[in-house]
């Protein structure tokens, strides 16, 4: 497939990683984005990279420690995570998860209160215990997204920003070109990695992709003294201490939205910042005096079962659909590799993606969103 042209619709972290992987294989890649790379959820998330439930997990773990070197740009990747239980119920749940890890041979260690306080200086004696994952980790989403984009360019790939895709040209059961308002990009294959806009785009090709969009929120504090390990969360919030020291955390209830072909109209944060602040002050009581300096929101999509859709279609057979179902950042090194394999070889070389096929939703009821209560507030 060397020398052929692949157009990627969507310059989020998944599309960019796919583009980078394809460019590494000598494929000519053009990434089209409606605005600026990583501007949506790819650049505004918790940065976690410990997705043990995914078929892409092993590859995620293998790749992250190498990403700075492979990309040539810093991602701020850091290894390890500690989950702190703040209630008896959470402690029971985290021990359950730890047992599961042990069964799967993922290295974990249970921490008592004293050990939590030693490992996490901002924690208090108000916790029940913790679980130290000796795997996984976190990185800086904004920096990583730009790193993929730059690395892709360094390999000769093209990124075209401010260019929403308006449609496709098809011939002989294949997509032959991708159209924007100002240009038409001929292609041998297409990757549609446009997040919440995937359903609208794929509908133009007669393919139904069931995805629903929602808004989620985060807060960030001023820098705290650096902890030995930045990937500290639990208490039903997720997040990290950045390498600058800021505490960036999210979690809590989401709001379902309708997103049209042009993408989210706005990404407003809400007073949910107060509920996040409460939980972060409980999780890390020695940080409770720290100032919150920003809050923000992002819009992400979910499939009906919450698992990604990573699939090379049978018709048009040169189209690969890629939605990570709201969990895309950490898995991006692996998802890009998988997409590269699907585009070039038609099958993934390193894991079984059957669980992520679009066809699992064949026969899905038309009112699947209503049934789940995944409808926007009217």
């Amino acid at each position: 497939m060397s020398g052929s042209e692949v157009v990627i619709v969507g310059g989020g972290v998944t599309g960019l990683s796919a583009g980078w992987w394809l460019a590494r294989s000598g494929v000519k890649v053009t990434v089209l984005d409606k605005f600026i790379v990583g501007w949506e959820a790819s650049g505004r998330n918790g940065g976690g990279a410990s997705h043990y439930s995914s078929p892409l997990f092993d590859e995620e773990q293998r790749l992250w420690p190498q990403m700075d070197e492979l990309l040539g740009y810093p991602t701020e990747h850091q290894k390890g995570r500690i989950l702190i239980a703040m209630t008896e119920r959470q402690w029971e749940q985290y021990r359950f998860i730890a047992e599961r890890h042990t069964r799967l041979n993922h290295p974990v260690e249970l921490l008592d209160v004293k050990q939590v306080q030693d490992a996490v200086p901002l924690a208090g004696d108000n916790c029940f215990g913790g679980v130290h994952y000796k795997f996984g980790g976190h990185a800086n989403p904004q920096r990583t997204v730009q790193a993929y984009a730059w690395a892709l360019q360094d390999l000769g790939g093209k990124i075209v920003q401010h260019s929403p895709v308006t449609g496709f040209e098809t011939a002989g059961g294949k997509v032959t070109a991708v159209k924007t308002a100002n240009a038409t990009y001929g292609c041998d294959a297409v990757v549609v990695a446009a997040g919440p806009q995937i359903p609208q785009l794929m509908a133009q090709l007669g393919v139904d992709v069931p995805l629903a969009a929602a808004r989620a929120e985060m807060i960030i504090t001023e820098p705290a003294p650096m902890m030995p390990l930045g990937g500290v969360d639990g208490h039903k919030i997720y997040g990290r201490q950045t390498l600058r020291g800021n505490l960036a955390y999210g979690g809590g209830p989401h709001e379902w939205l309708d997103v049209d072909a042009t993408g989210p109209k706005a990404r407003p944060s809400t007073p949910l910042a107060r509920n996040l602040a409460k939980r972060l002050a409980e999780l890390l009581p020695k940080a409770a005096h720290l100032n919150v300096i920003r809050s923000w929101a992002g819009v992400i999509e979910n499939s009906p079962d919450g698992r990604p859709i990573l699939d090379r279609l049978s018709s048009p057979d040169n189209v690969t659909v890629a939605s990570m179902s709201s969990v895309g950042f950490g898995l991006s090194p692996a998802s890009g590799h998988a997409i590269r394999d699907l585009v070039i070889d038609g099958t993934c070389s390193f894991t079984n993606l059957d669980l992520l096929k679009l066809s699992r939703f064949d026969g899905l009821e038309k009112d699947w969103r209503e049934k789940r209560g995944w409808m926007p507030i009217s």
Partner: protein, 487 residues
């Protein structure tokens, strides 16, 4: 795994938010002359009115140049909250008139966010403003909100600006007239437009030794009467010059050196080049803004339920192009200062690293990284300050960009050769004032919030390990980790 859908997502935000603690027909933010007048008008018309003002802010916040650019030149008197409150009442006699008219007054109370349903959000029970004092935060409902948040100082970087003693004109005026708490004695003023001239006269009248005004353009910029008054007071105005650097010691500024080599011993350098309308609240609620160079920069451009009064709506239009004036200063300062001049104090970002789009010093800079710059970024499309902020961290610090947002925008315009305003200003985010976690926290949140709280979407199948799909463990996983979702 069998999922029994109920038509309800128990982890959605619907119905989980608290109602506001109180409601007023009108909430006025900012108790300066415009805010007080708006509160009196509304109260006289029979409306229920809440008038809030963040002042006096804590000494810690003042030390962080919040809300104005105090430059560390406050006396210890600002640490005494009771004295500060009294000073505000003494200096603002109309506050009592507002209370007599029936407005409720809360000083030391910050409005940190305004929220209403609109694009991207429909879950708010009603439109609310977030308030906070030294003890706690709370939400207040309103029919109309009047923003009278005034204007704040434009800071501009030069070598040595990042030390105590470099401050803004609005901050100086507040310390002199309201609090009688200015710690400087010998002051140099940058600028010669009305703001600089008025500030110099005020300081002179209060016994501060004003050593002179420095003007980068070839002639004084302010009104003839003010220029004459300054000269009559014996204060020289030096034109065609800019500041090359400020030197200092442990207490901050000790001397300023001009481009002509002249060194002036002083303890304060007052940056009086411009004021910027304080649009943080309306910008953080994604209200529209427009650029109006004659009114001091970006101004709110119309938002339902929001009235904007006073300097927040824009400085009085005297026909002076504030933006062109600032850009002249920026050009002059950039020409005479080294590239390693700090632009963002909080994050210690130099001009070279800003224009080089380089990461902070704690990250490696491999060869590919070093080859990137604003110039290469511009090949991908128009510059965006938020994108550059994320990459360089300029504007991401605890001052929330108050010291550098505007000047970064000016530098990007200069360096990219585009008119100021072409590159969108970096966004403001709630809370628009730094608020401690324990203050911002909703400690008494509704039970519905905790019931709906999940770390992510609460979709049981999302996190079942792939090895377990289709095994009995799948149900154990749901039983243990999901409480009630789709059962």
């Amino acid at each position: 795994m069998e999922l029994n859908f109920t038509g309800t997502d128990i982890c959605a935000v619907n119905g989980t938010r608290s109602a506001p603690e109180t409601r007023y027909d009108v909430v006025v933010v900012g108790a300066g002359p415009s805010g007080i007048a708006a509160a009196i008008d509304a109260a006289t018309a029979g409306k229920s009115v809440l008038l809030v003002d963040e002042n006096p802010v804590s000494g810690a916040l003042m030390g962080n140049d919040t809300p104005l650019y105090f430059g560390g030149r406050m006396t210890a008197a600002t640490q005494n909250a009771d004295r500060m409150l009294e000073a505000i009442f003494m200096s603002m006699p109309d506050l009592e008139k507002a209370m007599e008219a029936g407005a409720e007054l809360l000083l030391g109370t910050t409005a940190w966010g305004v929220y209403r349903n609109g694009p991207g959000v429909a879950s708010l029970p009603e439109q609310v403003v977030g308030l906070a004092d030294a003890e706690r935060s709370w939400m207040v409902g309103f029919g109309k909100i009047v923003l009278a948040t005034g204007a704040r100082d434009l800071a501009l970087a030069f070598p040595g600006w990042n030390q105590p003693g470099v401050m803004g004109a609005a901050a100086l005026q507040m310390l002199l007239t309201r609090y009688d708490a200015f710690a400087g004695r010998r002051m140099l003023v940058l600028g010669s437009h009305d703001l600089a001239l008025e500030t110099a006269l005020l300081a002179h009248g209060r016994g501060v030794e004003v050593l002179g005004l420095i003007e980068t353009r070839d002639a004084p910029q302010g009104g003839d009467d003010l220029v004459a008054a300054v000269k009559a007071a014996g204060i020289p105005i030096t034109c065609g010059q800019t500041i090359a650097s400020a030197k200092g010691g442990i207490d901050g500024v000790e001397a300023a050196t001009l481009t002509n080599g002249e060194t002036i011993a002083c303890d304060t350098i007052c940056v009086a080049i411009g004021l910027v309308p304080s649009i943080e609240l309306v910008d953080a609620m994604h209200g529209p803004r427009s650029l109006n160079p004659a009114r001091g920069g970006y101004v709110p451009a119309g938002e339902p339920s929001v009235d904007v009064v006073g300097d927040c709506a824009g400085l009085p239009d005297t026909g002076f192009d504030h933006v062109a004036y600032r850009m002249d200063w920026m050009r002059a300062l950039t020409a005479v200062s080294a590239n390693d001049t700090i632009i963002c104090q909080c994050e210690e970002v130099t001009r070279a690293d800003l224009i080089g789009v380089q990461p902070p010093n704690y990250l490696p800079r491999p060869a590919a990284m070093c080859a990137r710059s604003l110039e290469t970024l511009l090949k991908d499309g128009p510059a965006n300050q938020d994108q550059i902020k994320r990459l360089t961290r300029a504007g991401m610090g605890v001052c929330q960009g108050r010291r550098c947002r505007d000047q970064v925008a000016m530098l990007l315009a200069l360096e990219s050769g585009t008119p100021f305003g072409t590159i969108p200003l970096a966004s403001h985010r709630a809370p628009v004032r730094p608020l401690p976690l324990k203050i911002l926290a909703e400690w008494d949140e509704p039970a519905e919030m905790e019931a709906a709280w999940d770390v992510w979407f609460g979709i049981p199948t999302q996190w079942v390990p792939v090895e377990d799909v289709g095994t009995p463990y799948e149900d154990d996983h749901r039983e243990m980790l999901y409480t009630g979702m789709y059962k």
